[in-house]
């Protein structure tokens, strides 16, 4: 698919950053506000998809030279490892812990192993969605 829609391309360049920022906000906000890894991952994937639609596959491949299969695998492994971490600490599989930590600049921040888990889901969703979309579009 080869498009050369100038308006779409110009808009996409700006929009992608807004959507990406929003998706990362959604990922981290998930703990107390609507959001989370799954939604965040899907929003990131839709931002990337906008790029694919506005430009063409080869161009984006050059700009973002990542293998999304690997991203997905890393995500699944992260989710799995947080669970195994609980076993190592001798509590049931996938028990999540939560602590308030005083971080420099950010002040008192809540940190939880659930966030790592959610990050894993986030990456798994991006990896999978993009793998599917890319394989189909490359097949054309």
């Amino acid at each position: 698919m080869k498009f050369s829609d100038l308006i779409l391309q110009t808009a996409a360049k700006v929009l992608v950053f807004i959507i990406m920022t929003f998706s990362i906000y959604i990922l981290f906000a998930g703990h107390h506000n609507p959001g989370g890894g799954f939604i965040g991952g899907l929003i990131t994937a839709s931002a990337l998809m906008l790029l694919y639609v506005a430009f063409d596959v080869e161009t984006i491949q050059e700009i973002i030279p990542v293998d999304f299969k690997v991203i997905g695998a890393i995500g699944v492994l992260m989710a799995l490892l947080t669970g195994i971490g609980a076993i190592v600490a001798d509590v049931p599989f996938l028990t999540q812990v939560y602590r308030y930590v005083d971080l420099p600049l950010l002040g008192e921040t809540g940190l939880g192993s659930a966030l790592v888990f959610d990050l894993g889901v986030y990456l798994a969703v991006i990896g999978t969605t993009m793998t599917i979309i890319r394989s189909i579009s490359e097949d054309m």
Partner: protein, 797 residues
């Protein structure tokens, strides 16, 4: 985690490093790195020896799935010790041998050693587990690793056939055994073997006693290649020879023997246990020996001989189990001699058969063939191999001065004891045993003399034969030396290895602190046993000399009774049947698949909904429906109706998308922002995906569909709609179960999150989320693979 647990898990853990050695250090044979595992384990088990003599067995507990009564408990008693030493000791020698046998340039050594280590760990797990469920897991792990090892040269058709056959037969038996274990577990209320043995009285009177016994025996017989399940073992000889020496003669096929020995304290003393095992064992002994003579392939000959020897050990275990029978209390010590003979012969068989297999490997390696029609006259060319064959072969034939003689004599004592104390007609037992031993003698002669004497015909061999390198000879020499040493000093192992093993098979015969009297000697005076051996030598030599005259009976055997033929027939029949069943409903039309799925949903969901009398319509608790909610519902209905009547794919996508966005608006109204967000994004992505996929589809055209199909479609769609509407309304109207939602209200205290939905996703029900991510990722990889397969196939064209 104790050291004992670590010993079982060490081979599994070590597999992780094997590919690294293979890839990073290709100049050193990977076997050298693997060698350390059996060595360490052998030293570890041997170091437990002082504990053995008369003291309590080593027991280590580890909780695994406590809610199901499954504990990873390990138990090292005399019987486990004997097996553990055989597994690690022969494992060590086999790996030494494989270093010279397997070429490091041509073979995928990392696979070979990974499978071998998995097998070693699993086999140790079988003989050490106290829990039946854990034992079962390891049992199947040996079947799987054996499958992988037989199919190691998977390019060959015979290898794949042999691997599949071994897998199907042993796994079927294993599955039966699992059922038997479950019955035992339900009768005893525990899966622990020690506790089951302690509750013997309860189990004997349970109605499940006989079925459990039969099923457990089915597992043991398939694994130990007992008649009529023996057919997989000759085909398993397609594995590399070190594997045949290790798995298919010394260890894995003895797992069935182990299981029978281990279960003797539970089932032993019951007459049917005695009859089944003794008869199957003696038939296997005879049939294996009889069939071994006609083989031309040396490995096939050894395979049948292994079958036959396993039958011998099995029948001894059957006879020995009578020691626990109440009618034979007076003769208990006499019958217990059969158990001693069984463990002793098991040990002997492992050493002489191991060395014989290694010699066959050497012959194959040096001459390029294992066919005795091509071999002959190798005596002067390969003198060391010849000496090794003499030692192993004559030990197998039961002649002095080799250890096989001792256990063979004890075997005759066992069958004679059975005859003297049970019934007149049981004289068949010693007779069949004697006949089988005659045939054993004949195939041993075939093995030794057809290979090494006679005329040397170099033109029939692919290579110019010469003696094997020293490294290849080390392992069989060690084993052959053991054969000789055990004959002259049998009491080296009698109280260290054999008596403790015997004690764990027959624990109830002894008072605490007592030990069995074990006195193995070569000379008992001129008794029946010696006479039988002399008879075997005379009759066997005669038959060997006149083989050409009577060999015709092999070709006149009725084909109907050929179990291989039956197996092949059954397999092709099953394949054809399942293909027919599958083709009946898998017709390639998406439309048909959808109607199956939806019809199924209507029947199962709707049916159980009606059967449970769950239908309840109670609008009184409903909130007032606002006008904008009506508007939304109508819009959803209109846009889904719109999809039905458009004639362009693009328009229908937009219709479906509209439905999705409208539903997410509903979520907003009902204050479910998480759901609304997800629905919105999913809708966006799927629309884009649809657009991508539609590129490949042909233009939508009005199809001529038969009216019958249209009506059935209508009925199915109305049915699905009705079922789900009714379920939705009923769920709203009644509350048959106590709601659990109040638990999630405390999400902030429980998981530190104010967003309840998210804390359910990542904390309370994180297991679901994790597995969902795995499923999602698997689906993604599936799409990727399918598309790329198509692409590569297209490029090939």
């Amino acid at each position: 985690m104790s050291l004992l647990h670590f010993a079982v898990l060490l081979p599994f853990l070590y597999t992780v490093f094997v590919p690294l050695f293979f890839k990073k250090l290709p100049r050193v044979h990977t076997g050298w790195f693997v060698l350390i595992v059996p060595l360490l384990l052998f030293v570890y088990f041997a170091a437990q020896f002082p504990l053995r003599s008369g003291s309590a067995p080593l027991f280590q507990s580890l909780s695994w799935i406590p809610s199901l009564g499954i504990r990873f408990d390990l138990h090292l008693d005399g019987l486990s010790m004997l097996f553990a030493l055989i597994i690690t000791g022969i494992g060590f020698l086999v790996i030494v041998y494989s270093i010279y046998y397997m070429s490091k340039e041509r073979e995928a050594l990392h696979n070979f050693y990974i499978y071998l280590l998995v097998f070693m760990g699993a086999m140790l797990g079988i003989v050490l587990s106290d829990n039946l469920m854990v034992l079962y897991v390891f049992w199947e792990a040996t079947s799987v690793s054996s499958f992988l090892l037989i199919a190691y040269w998977f390019q060959r058709k015979r290898s794949r056939y042999g691997a599949q056959k071994a897998m199907l037969i042993t796994v079927t038996g294993g599955f039966a055994m699992l059922l038997g274990f479950l019955m035992l577990g339900s009768a005893a209320g525990t899966f622990s073997i020690r506790e089951i043995v302690a509750m013997k009285e309860v189990i004997v009177n349970d109605s499940l006693f006989i079925p459990a016994m039969l099923l457990v025996l089915l597992g043991a017989f398939t694994k130990s290649a007992q008649f009529p399940f023996h057919i997989w073992l000759p085909d398993a000889m397609e594995a590399p020879t070190p594997i045949s020496a290790y798995l298919h003669s010394a260890t894995m096929v003895k797992a069935g023997v182990y299981l029978v020995a281990r279960m003797t304290p539970v089932f032993g003393g019951h007459m049917s246990w005695f009859w089944i095992i003794t008869i199957i064992g003696i038939v296997t002994l005879f049939w294996g020996a009889f069939m071994a003579i006609r083989q031309f392939d040396l490995k096939a000959l050894l395979a049948y001989s292994t079958i036959s020897q396993l039958g011998l050990i099995m029948s001894l275990l059957g006879i020995g189990s009578l020691a626990l029978h109440t009618n034979y209390e007076a003769q208990a010590m006499l019958f217990s001699g059969a158990i001693l003979a069984a463990v002793f012969h098991l040990f002997n068989h492992s050493i002489f058969k191991g060395s014989l297999f290694m010699v066959v490997g050497i012959l194959d390696h040096e001459t390029g063939t294992r066919d005795i029609r091509k071999l002959g006259g190798l005596l002067s060319l390969m003198p060391v191999s010849f000496s090794l064959t003499i030692i192993g072969g004559l030990s197998m034939a039961g002649l002095p001065p080799f250890s096989g003689f001792l256990s063979k004599e004890m075997f005759f004592t066992g069958v004679l004891t059975a005859y003297q104390h049970i019934d007149q007609w049981v004289i068949l037992l010693p007779i069949v045993a004697w006949l089988a031993s005659v045939f054993t003698f004949v195939y041993c002669l075939v093995f030794v003399f057809k290979t090494f004497t006679g005329t040397y015909r170099p033109e029939r061999l692919d290579k110019k034969p010469h003696e094997a390198p020293a490294g290849m000879l080390v392992s069989p020499i060690v084993l052959a030396t053991l054969v000789l040493v055990i004959f002259f000093f049998p009491n080296l192992i009698s109280y260290t290895l054999l008596e403790p093993a015997m004690r764990s098979v027959l624990p109830s015969l002894l008072q605490p602190g007592e030990v069995f009297e074990v006195d193995i000697r070569a000379w008992h005076g001129f008794n029946t046993e010696l006479l039988m051996t002399v008879g075997i030598v005379v009759m066997g030599s005669l038959l060997y000399k006149t083989y050409k005259k009577w060999s015709d009976i092999y070709y006149n055997l009725p084909r109907k009774f050929d179990f291989n033929h039956m197996y092949d027939k059954g397999l092709t029949g099953a394949e054809r049947l399942s293909a027919r069943v599958t083709n009946f409903y898998m017709n390639g039309f998406l439309h048909s698949y959808l109607s199956y799925i939806f019809t199924f949903v209507i029947i199962v969901v709707g049916g159980s909904f009606l059967l449970q009398r769950a239908l309840a319509i109670d609008p009184s608790t409903n909130a007032v429906i606002e006008w904008h909610e009506y508007l939304l519902a109508v819009s959803i209905a209109v846009s889904s109706g719109f999809v039905l009547f458009v004639n362009s794919r693009l328009t229908s996508i937009i219709g479906v998308g509209a439905v999705g966005y409208l539903v997410s608006l509903l979520f907003v109204i009902f204050r479910a922002p998480d759901l609304a967000l997800t629905q919105l994004v999913v809708e966006t992505i799927t629309t884009a995906l649809f657009l991508l996929c539609f590129y490949f589809l042909p233009k939508l055209k009005t199809e001529v569909v038969r009216i019958r199909v249209k009506v059935s479609n209508l009925i199915i769609s109305i049915g699905v709609g009705t079922v789900f509407t009714l379920i939705g309304i009923s769920a709203q109207s009644t509350n048959p179960f106590k709601p659990i939602s109040h638990f999630f209200l405390n999400s902030y205290e429980l998981s530190g999150a104010r967003n309840m939905v998210n804390s359910i996703l990542v904390d309370f029900r994180a297991f679901d989320t994790m597995l969902e991510s795995v499923v999602l990722f698997t689906a993604g990889i599936g799409v990727y693979t399918l598309i790329n397969l198509r692409k590569s196939r297209r490029e090939k064209r």
